[in-house]
Structure formats: C-alpha cells, structure tokens
C-alpha cells in the first residue's frame, strides 16, 4: 500500500509538472519558424516516444533476469513497464497525427518515427495479449519473458527497417551526434519535458507494480478470479 501511495504522489507531481511544462512550452518558448504553433507538440511527442522505446528495453532486460532468477518481482515489473509503454505509445500515436495534420496535411503518414511507434505498439499489444491468454502464473511469466526478450531484440531491427523509408518527419534535432541544434529556450523546455516523462514513467510503473502485487495477494487469498 505504501508503494501505491508513493507511486500516486510521483505521478501527481509528474502531472502537475507536465502542466507546467506545457504552459512554458505554449507561452514562454519561442515559436518555431517553419512549423509554427503545431511544432509545440514536439515537446510532448518525443519524450513520450523515447520512454515508450526505453520501456520495451526495460521489459526485455527484466525478462532476461527473470529467466535466470525466476523472481516474480521481475515479472511484475516487466508487466508494469509494458503497460506503461503501451500508454506512452498510444500518446505518440495520437499526438503524432495531431501534429501532422496542420503541417503535412494528412492524419497518418508512413513516416519513420510514427511507423516505428506503431510497430512498437504492436509489440506491446502482443505482449499484453499473450499475458492475458495464460491463466497459470508461472507459465505466464515464463512465456511473457520469452516474448519480452524477443521484443527487445526486435527494436533495433524495426529501427533499421523504418529508416529505410523516405520520411516527412523532422530529422532528429536533439538526439544527434554533436551538440543539439535547438536554441536555448527550446532545449530547456524539451529537457524539462523529458524529465517530466521520466517522472511519469516511474510514477505509473510504481503504481502499476503495487496494484499487481496487491492483486496477487488477493488472488492467493482466493478473493479475486484470474484477471
């Protein structure tokens, strides 16, 4: 229970800060020249995407350790990270088109970053579906771990295939070799947003983990059926 409260606090702080970052992004950060007001979604979009991908890597790593140690905490963490990763993917997949429509004129485009996130989303959905299809906890943890590891290893290959396509997507500005090209204020806002999303990731995962643990306790006591 304590963990759940801690998680809730972290998430709450994260959400408040998120509002703060948006106020800053909307009012106090200069408007970008070529893309205009719509560019501001970038502050939301990219950090979420980064965490969506990182969450999958973490699922994979936790899965590897799970197969060696069989520690159920690792499995719980993997499941939590996967759910949070799915949510972040969904954020990107909805904010992406919102950003895209005014600039590119279409709701969806097969551009590199969006497509990558779509495939990542499919990986997550598969993972969660597999988990939900197995009632036995030990088998579920084992199979999810296998899929999680495969998913983590698939990520670099999805990167490879997606970057083969010609893209409408703005080229990486911040995450490129050498110094980031963003001017001062924008960079600060972006970094703040990344920090906020990190906080949100941690907050959500902690909450989800705690809920998972509580549910398992209930199941063991025979009160809740398999979910």
């Amino acid at each position: 229970m304590k963990m759940l409260q801690v998680g809730r606090w972290i998430t709450a702080i994260g959400l408040v800060l998120l509002v703060g970052v948006y106020v800053r992004a909307l009012s106090f950060t200069p408007i970008e020249q070529s893309q205009g007001l719509a560019q501001k979604i970038f502050y939301l979009h990219v950090p979420a995407a980064i965490w969506a991908e990182t969450a999958m890597i973490l699922v994979g790593l936790a899965s590897v350790f799970y197969l060696f140690t069989k520690d159920p905490r690792l499995d719980r963490f993997a499941a939590s990270s996967a759910e949070v990763g799915t949510v972040f993917c969904a954020i990107v997949l909805t904010t992406g088109p919102i950003w895209g429509k005014p600039i590119w004129g279409t709701w969806w485009t097969w551009d590199a970053r969006l497509t990558f996130t779509l495939f990542l989303f499919l990986l997550y959905v598969g993972y969660l579906l597999l988990r939900s299809a197995i009632p036995d906890p030990a088998m579920r943890a084992r199979y999810a771990a296998v899929l999680g590891i495969c998913g983590m290893c698939e990520v670099p290959f999805i990167h490879l295939s997606v970057y083969m396509f010609p893209t409408l997507h703005p080229m990486p500005i911040v995450l490129q070799p050498g110094r980031p090209k963003l001017p001062g204020d924008m960079l600060t806002t972006w970094l703040l947003s990344l920090g906020v999303f990190t906080l949100l990731y941690v907050g959500f995962v902690v909450q989800r983990y705690a809920l998972s643990y509580l549910r398992e306790q209930l199941e063991a006591a025979g009160e809740v059926g398999h979910a």
Partner: protein, 228 residues
Amino acid sequence: MRSPSLLRHAWAVAAKDLLVEFRSRTAILSAAVFVVLVFVVFNFGRDPTAVSNVDLAPSILWVTFTFAAILALNRAFQLELENQALDGLLLAPIERSSIYLGKLIANLGFVGTIELIGVPLFALFFNVPVLPYLLPLALLIALATVGFVAVGTLFSAMTVRTRFAELLLPVLLLPFMIPPLSWAVLATGRLLAGRPLSEIVGWLNMLAVYDVVFVTLAILLFPATVNE
C-alpha cells in the same frame, strides 16, 4: 558427440513432421490453393493501365508466402498436442533444441515447397522475368523465410498451449515479420526491375544478421517454453 546427435535428432523430428504432413496433405494443399487464388484474383481484378506489374508484384508474392508460413506454423506444434506426443519428446534423451530445430526444418520444408510452386507460377501469371535473377532471388527468399519462420516456430510453441491459439500466433508474429518482409519486398522489387546486385546486397546482409540473431535467440529461449 554432442553436436552430431543434436542434428541427427533434429532431422528425425523434421522427417517425422514432413512425413505426417505428406500423409495428410491438407495444409499444403490449402496453401497451394491460396497462392493460385491470390495470383489469379490479382491479375483479373487489376486495371492494367493503373499500376505497373512489377510495382505491386513483390508484395503479392510475399503475402502468399507469409500465409503459407502461418499455416505451417499453426500446425507444427498442434501436431504434438493432438497426438499428445510432446511429453514423449521431452522425455526422450535429446536436447530440447533438437525439437526446435526439427520443427524449424520441417516448417522451412513446408514453406519452401510452397515457394517452389509459387515462384514459377508468379513468373508465369505476372509475366515477370525471373530466370535471369534466379540465384539472388532464391537466396533472398531463403534468408527472409528463415527469418520469420524461426521466430514463428518459437512463438507457436507458446501459443499452442493458449486459448485462441490460431488467432494469437499471427498477432504476436506481426511486428516480427515486418522487418524481414519489408526488406524482402523491397529487394525483390529492385531485383526484378533489373537493378544491379550491389543495390540489394545491403538487404541480404540485414536479412542474414536478422536470421543469425533470431535463430540463436530461439534456440536459447525454446527450452523455457517447454520446461516446467
């Protein structure tokens, strides 16, 4: 002594699977019919002035191969479940990897047969010159097929024990098929359009890396799917 017996047992498992499939023939016939159906429908339903043959043809080809693969994958471990023989396989003094390798070889045999039928038909119906590019095409097809069948064989070992097994397998497999398939389609397109080999070597390399990574991963992870 370890390696040879691994392969020997894998081959025994594969031969058994192929023999069983040959005897019942249902799956391979369905796949073959599907191939012909898709080719015919596509050609009749197409406006000849709209899109050039060579543009969409590679996608069509690979869609049919993928379907054949899913069909093969669904029945691979289903066979063991039906005959309740999986315990027997696990009881035998063989490496777990032999079971995986055997299934992989059998699945590749199945899909390979469909591909052997499909490519000539493809050349015929789509009027696409395949012979000049036969060797690189064969290599390309082989590499891409190993890629998704390797992952599919591993996943099918898991999904066969779940509800909705036949539905779950394609869903799980989808994000894993996209990279090798997209590379294969692009490379096939370039190849059949007569582009120089140097352009597709990059894709062949990526497919080879993909294969090595995932076959190794599958061999390592397979025991976790069958051990209790």
